[in-house]
Structure formats: structure tokens, C-alpha cells
């Protein structure tokens, strides 16, 4: 079953002089095993929206159903939070335990699992993120490097075996290698476990490369939604909103301006590359 967002609106501090409408009338469905990319510039409501997906914020209008469970119901929230794993920006700042293993065990422990089960999940999650448990389990999380900390924090979420994984800028502040590692981890989670991914990102290239569907937020509303080729074919509008375009799309535009006609609006570098090679050989 999917996550259904129905006419979701959210106003911060409603009824006060500081009331601030952050989201208005958003309807969107996130299907099982789907990779949804969310883009929008700063202040467009991305972070507010994803916090509704596991009931950290409650809608001030409309509703959010996770596998049919309404986030407005307090009793269901614990269940919802174990279904929807949430990785905030800079998740390494949430590490607090003495050892990496204990920190990763925090989530499963809160779910009320058995000791054996927790141990198994910790082991599995650490292996998955590329921190071999035999080396890292007993280390203090504060002794790890930046990239390792991020992966340890990610393991803390994965150990809950969420059905959906929501990530807010998971690659922010990482070097190219760290970015690639996190991205391939996310991609393999989806392909092997069928985990649904919702990723907020400023990197159009990453979204273009991995997402099945893209939602564009602007000023708290859903501006457009669709497959990457549809979204990026409306490049002009994205640029007007202050968003960038993927490198491949920019290159297509530049080539067109110089009279090189291409049959598609490419948005992935690898596809553009092979198209250009084909053209060259023809």
C-alpha cells in the first residue's frame, strides 16, 4: 500500500500573529518501491512536507495515510514511524550513544524488539552501510570520520527495516566519493529490499539519475509532478523558479543553440553521451 497525501496543508503557529502557511493543498501518492525525488528551492516547503510522512508534523488541513494509517492518530504514530524511516539533513548530529552498535540499536529497541533480533538488525544494517561490525560496532561514534558518522546514522534508521525511506539532502557536505557511496546504497536498498525512497535534493543530476518520478514544490504548493523527462522538458519554468537543470539538459540546450539537433530532451549524462556517439557514428 502507498503513502497517500490528500489535500495536505500546513500552517505553522496557526491562530497567532506569526501564523505562516508553509504548505497548501498538496495531493500526491508515493507508491511502494518507488523512487520519488523532491525538488524546490529553499523555503518551498520540502522539509515541512517530508515531516508529515511519518507524523512528526500533523496536517492543519487534509490528511496523510501511510499504508492506510492516518498520521493524525496518536496511537498509530509509533507504527507509522517504524514504517517510514526518516533521515534528516546532517543525520550524524543525532548520534549519542557510547558505541556505534548501541546507537544503531536505539531505533529497534524503541520498537520493542527482542535482544537477538536487535543484534541481528544492527549487524545487518552496519554491514549494509559499509561499516563492518567487527571493526566499528564497539567504537565510539564520535571517533569516526565525517562520512563514517553519516553512514552510522543511516544504519540507525535502516536497522528499523523501514518500508519507506525518506531522505532530506542525504549527500550534503560529503565529498564525491561519499556521495557516490550513499547514492549506491540507497539504490541498492530499493533494488534488493524494495524500499520506497523519497529523496529531497538540490542536486538535479542525482534526482535525474535515480528518480522514477519527481515532485517540484514552489511556495508551499505542488508545482508539477511527473517522470524526469516530463519535468525536465519544462526547463524554462524550472529556471524561472530559481532551480537549476541537470548538466545533460543544459548541454542539450547549449548544443541546440549551436544548431545541433537532438531527438530527445536528455536529462541523464549517460543517455546523452550514447546519443551523441550514435550521432557521430551515423
Amino acid at each position: 500500500m502507498p503513502i497517500q497525501i490528500e489535500q495536505l496543508s500546513h500552517t505553522y503557529m496557526p491562530g497567532s500573529a506569526l501564523a505562516y502557511p508553509a504548505l497548501s493543498d498538496i495531493t500526491l501518492t508515493i507508491n511502494d518501491g518507488e523512487f520519488l525525488g523532491i525538488i524546490g528551492h529553499t523555503g518551498s516547503g520540502k522539509s515541512t512536507m517530508i515531516q508529515h510522512l511519518n507524523g512528526l508534523l500533523q496536517p492543519t488541513g487534509g490528511r496523510v495515510l501511510v499504508d492506510g494509517l492516518d498520521t493524525r492518530e496518536k496511537k498509530l504514530r509509533k507504527k507509522i514511524r517504524s514504517l517510514v524511516g526518516m533521515v534528516f539533513q546532517y543525520p550524524e548530529y543525532q548520534l549519542f550513544e557510547e558505541t556505534v552498535a548501541k546507537d544503531v540499536a536505539f531505533g529497534p529497541k524503541n520498537m520493542g524488539l527482542e535482544e537477538n533480533d536487535i543484534h541481528e538488525r544492527v549487524f545487518e544494517a552496519l554491514t549494509l552501510v559499509g561499516l563492518p561490525p567487527e571493526r566499528f560496532a564497539e567504537q565510539s561514534p564520535f571517533e569516526l570520520s565525517g562520512g563514517e558518522k553519516r553512514r552510522a546514522a543511516l544504519a540507525g534508521i535502516l536497522a528499523m527495516r523501514p518500508k519507506y525511506l525518506v531522505l532530506d539532502e542525504p549527500m550534503a557536505g560529503l565529498d564525491p566519493r561519499g556521495r557516490a557511496e550513499i547514492l549506491s546504497l540507497i539504490e541498492s536498498l530499493r533494488s534488493t529490499n524494495g524500499t520506497g525512497i523519497v529523496m529531497v535534493s538540490h542536486s538535479m543530476d542525482d534526482v535525474a539519475m535515480y528518480a522514477d518520478r519527481i515532485a517540484v514544490l514552489d511556495c508551499g504548493g505542488l508545482f508539477m509532478e511527473g517522470a524526469p523527462e516530463d519535468v525536465f522538458s519544462r526547463g524554462e519554468e524550472l529556471l524561472k523558479m530559481g532551480l537549476a537543470l541537470p548538466q545533460a539538459t543544459r548541454l542539450v540546450y547549449a548544443l541546440r543553440a549551436r544548431g545541433v539537433e537532438l531527438e530527445h530532451n536528455y536529462y541523464r549524462m549517460d543517455e546523452l553521451q550514447s546519443a551523441l556517439i550514435r550521432r557521430w557514428n551515423a
Binding site: 512528526l56 548530529y93 531505533g107 524503541n110 528499523m160
Partner: protein
């Protein structure tokens, strides 16, 4: 949760009280406290009460702020009232029931002390309502600067206060973020007994402290790289100057104090 914390509670405005020099306001607030403590007879409290109303009007602070300034102290006020009501001995018994004994003297005393506390709290809130935290620390620094002769770190103290004030919203935001992140991992801060609740704070406090230390380190580095070296020979962007309003306000409060002294000595 960030909404209900009004530390500093500064209310921006352009009244004549807002425009007073922060040094004057701090000194006058001390004088006001003296005035409230000098009053010894219940009916003389009318004078500081009128003064308080006058201050609220001059500062153009809505009356609702009077109550909201008392709100955090309501339990203390109630406690003070009750303690005085039951612990004061006297002769004119009003109520006598079982071990409860309330005398007229006790009622007067309870009203007296509660009123004194109310005047203190509401009056001092005028200072924080009309003075921005930055002005307040500037004023304090200036007032404390003569103490530098005896190696009292006036500038450093004021700088620390400014930094502390500056970081309150930042750390509040940080707390909110960490709390949400841990809630997403199933942490529960709302149920359980007091020990369990205290324990559930650890996942918030540890990351918060770690980040506070990191921020402190970064800030120190940033200040040093901009050649900050303490208060020695440092000039200010906002210079403080006394105006005629400061003189008027000072004279007024001194007159009130003198008036109260006279009233207290009247044979009434």
C-alpha cells in the same frame, strides 16, 4: 515548542521609555526595586502601583503583558500568599477551623508581600520589554566598566552574555531538530514515569552538547580570525549617550522615592 519561550521578551517600539539610555533604565530599575522595598505600609503601595501603571502607559506596553509577565511566577506568588496567610500570628481571628487559623494580620501581611512581589516582577519586566538584549548588555558593560580598574572582566562578561543570548534561538532550533530525529527513530518523550522521562532526554542532550561545543569552537575560531582580542582599546558601533529624557526620568523616580519616604513618616 519553540513558540512558548519568550526569553528576553523584547517588544520593539519607539516610546520614550524605549528611547531611554539602557544605563539609565538599569539604574532606574534598581531605584524602582528600592522604592518597592521602602514601602512599609499597605496603603502607600498606591504610589508604586500608580508608578507602574504610568510606566506601562509611557512605554506603550499593552496591559496583557502585565499578566503574561506574572504568569511564570504564579505558583511562587500563590505559595508566598498561602505561607504568609497561615504562618503569621495575630489576635483578630477571622476563621478558626480545626488547625486552620486565619487572622486579620495574616491576611494583610499576605496581601502585602504578594503585592510587593507582583510590583517587583511586573516593574522589572518593563526593562526587558523595552530594551533589546543587545542594548541591555551594552548598558551593563558600560555600567560595569569602572570595575575594570580592579581587573573585573566587564567587557568579557558582556560579550559572553551577548553570545549566550544570540545562541538561544539557534540551540532551540537545534533541540527541535534533534528531538524530531530521535522521534523518527521511535523515541518517546511523553510517556513513562519521571525517571524514564529523564532518561529519554539523553538522546537529545548528548547531541545538543556536542553541537554546542562544536559551535563554540567554530565561533571562537571565527572571532580570532577577525582579530578579536578582548575589550582592550575596542571601539563601539553604537555609542551610548544620555539625553534630557534620561534626566527627566531619573528626577521623576527620585521624587517618587522622596515622596514615599515622606508618606511613610506621616502619622496616619
Amino acid at each position: 515548542m519553540t513558540a512558548n519561550i519568550t526569553l528576553g521578551q523584547f517588544l520593539p517600539g519607539d516610546s520614550c521609555v524605549h528611547r531611554l539610555d539602557p544605563r539609565t533604565k538599569i539604574m532606574l530599575m534598581v531605584l524602582y526595586i528600592v522604592i518597592v522595598f521602602v514601602v512599609d505600609t499597605l496603603w502607600v503601595f498606591a504610589v508604586p502601583c500608580l508608578l507602574l501603571v504610568f510606566m506601562f502607559i509611557m512605554a506603550r506596553v499593552p496591559a496583557s503583558y502585565f499578566f503574561s509577565s506574572l504568569k511564570p511566577m504564579r505558583w511562587l506568588l500563590l505559595f508566598m500568599f498561602i505561607i504568609n496567610l497561615f504562618s503569621t500570628s495575630g489576635d483578630t481571628v477571622l476563621v478558626q477551623w480545626w488547625i486552620v487559623r486565619i487572622t486579620q494580620e495574616a491576611v494583610l501581611r499576605a496581601v502585602f508581600f504578594t503585592l510587593r512581589l507582583v510590583l517587583l516582577i511586573a516593574g522589572t519586566s518593563i526593562l526587558t520589554l523595552t530594551t533589546s538584549p543587545i542594548m541591555l548588555t551594552d548598558g551593563l558593560e558600560k555600567l560595569m566598566s569602572p570595575l575594570r580598574r580592579i581587573h573585573f572582566p566587564a567587557h568579557e562578561l558582556a560579550m559572553m552574555m551577548t553570545i549566550a543570548l544570540r545562541f538561544i534561538p539557534t540551540l532551540m532550533e537545534e533541540t527541535d531538530r534533534i528531538q524530531k530525529a530521535q522521534m523518527a527513530r521511535g523515541a518517546d518523550f511523553e510517556s513513562g514515569n519521571i525517571v524514564q522521562r529523564a532518561k529519554s532526554m539523553i538522546p537529545i542532550l548528548v547531541p545538543l552538547f556536542v553541537s554546542a561545543f562544536r559551535r563554540a569552537d567554530e565561533l571562537a575560531m571565527a572571532m580570532e580570525s577577525r582579530c578579536y582580542h578582548g575589550g582592550e582599546g575596542r571601539t563601539r558601533m553604537r555609542e551610548l549617550h544620555f539625553h534630557t529624557g534620561d534626566l527627566t526620568a531619573s528626577v521623576l523616580l527620585c521624587a517618587v522615592l522622596a515622596g514615599i519616604e515622606i508618606l511613610e513618616r506621616l502619622p496616619l
